[in-house]
Symmetry: C2
Subunit: 160 residues, 2 copies
DNA sequence: GTTCCTGCAAAGAGTTTGCATTGTG
DNA sequence: CACAATGCAAACTCTTTGCAGGAAC
């Protein structure tokens, strides 16, 4: 699935969701969705706000938080609580389930998939008679090479 | 290791750590450590504060946050960032590495151990040339039985 | 006596809320 | 034209900070 396919798929999901519940198809919601699907990978409310401003869109924080809640509800966006109290979001349509490896030096986030993990989660569910719905595995690690290769690029840690 | 053994072991670690760095062995630090090791499993700064008050100890929030930072630094306490922006702590001396299964209905936290998970973490580290230091796996699940068995007991979710 | 620690109150970050206004259906 | 969504500012929660007084060594 290309990224523009993911966007149009996401737009369909959104419009269907809005229609079903009598919610409104506002320009703001569409713009936020476009911005997320075109420009952002792991982001917080504030970086979404800045990206919108750079596109010439003045959308209030209240609307951003509302919209993110809406998108999480309809599965267009996932919300993560990483260490340091960071709440980060990522688009979820057209991407497969994955987990996160975070560099302790710079906060760079590497995604990874491990099919073994699904087995661990299922096993735990069986053991405690619970039905796992989702899970987050975050691995915190140091780079092996001297100096972190992502030190300059950084997004989230360095700006703290 | 019994829980009082864990406390005295934790006290030794704390005193050694303080001595090594020329930090002070204050009554507040000792009381906070005692309270955590005697009364708390998964807790936030505010519930620690309430437990201290119930013991007749008036310790300011500033000191609580300072002390928690100190205890995290010397490994006496672990800090977790769960969903909903909850920062929770738990004592770590005398307990083995474990992960968390959280009931979506009530927020009840079940601990579990799965040796497979260590292999997953190591594998990811090798793949990306990083040295994993620690990891958090949180599984969110629904109870299979009708109505959640922990619904009344709750600690963190219900009070939100 | 020096330095670290505590408590208080104020400040700060991130998020939520109330309400008047705007715009979709 | 009804009602949902937006924008703004104020409120709120959790955490951090600055500073004066107090305690450990």
């Amino acid at each position: 699935m290309t990224s523009s396919e993911a966007l149009s798929h996401a737009q369909e999901i959104l419009e269907k969701y809005l229609l079903e519940r009598g919610l409104r198809r506002t320009e703001e919601r569409l713009e936020v969705l476009r911005t997320i699907y075109e420009e952002l990978t792991h982001f917080d409310a504030d970086s979404l706000h800045r990206h919108l401003l750079e596109r010439g869109l003045r959308i209030s924080r209240a609307t951003i938080y509302n919209t993110l809640d809406l998108f999480v509800s309809c599965g267009l966006v996932k919300r993560y609580a990483f260490a340091e109290g960071r709440t980060l979001y990522e688009r979820s349509v057209g991407r497969r389930q994955h987990d996160h490896l975070i560099c302790i030096e710079c906060g760079h986030i590497q995604e990874f998939c491990d099919p073994q993990l699904g087995l661990v989660v299922e096993g735990v569910g069986r053991l405690f008679h619970m039905n796992p719905v989702h899970h987050d595995l975050v691995v915190y690690a140091h780079c092996q090479v001297e100096g972190c290769p992502h030190r300059s690029e950084n997004s989230t840690f360095a700006t703290k």
